[in-house]
Symmetry: C2
Subunit: 110 residues, 2 copies
Amino acid sequence: MGSTKSDEFSVKDNRIATYAKALAHPARVAILRLLIQRQACVCGDIVDELPLSQSTVSQHLKELKEARLIKGDIDGARVCYCIDDHEMNAAKNAIQGLFDSYEVQKNKCC
Amino acid sequence: MGSTKSDEFSVKDNRIATYAKALAHPARVAILRLLIQRQACVCGDIVDELPLSQSTVSQHLKELKEARLIKGDIDGARVCYCIDDHEMNAAKNAIQGLFDSYEVQKNKCC
DNA sequence: AATATTAATCGTATTTTTACGATTAATTAC
DNA sequence: GTAATTAATCGTAAAAATACGATTAATATT
């Protein structure tokens, strides 16, 4: 009890939910926005921009990495993060697909 | 400690996060999809379609209502749910806005 | 009026998320 | 080689989400 019954729902709905979950915290949205603006960004710079501790930012980065929306390139002691283009498009299409299906239904005049 | 530091982030990022959170569970995506397909749906019918108890579905409906993505019209003892068109568009635009800003940056050739 | 149906809410257990400080492992600078 | 920097991970506390059964309040049926 308490845990999510993911298996009971369609793969499609789970995919949308997973992508949405990655966007479901303002810190993670802010990180994505930062990476979009700057194309790429070293972890420390992200920490500097956010009102959160290094460890907390690292945790948010991990979640975005697990959702595959970003990837990190190791550059010596630093890690340079950037958007994962392929997965970002997949997320866009998955979420947009839901909104689009709404538009389609809406425009079926009755 | 433990709670989300919403105030520390922009209104824009919080709005995206809030809409995304509403979509961050497959049951809620399934509910939205159902309402899109059928235009409107009585609560009991939604319960019948989902592999969750009545109380759990009610809780998910509450969250979607709080995010304003759906609204419920009372019809006697029943409640008929449907998409809130205005807010659905707002959600679409907010989330799409993030993805679009990525597209724009990406196409700025360098 | 008594009973049945419907959907929200309450209470509760469990899990997950959020957040931080401390530690660790690795690279870099001295 | 030692010290400093960097970022991930560990441990932990607090909060929020998920799920369900039981109860409640309201309408509908008999």
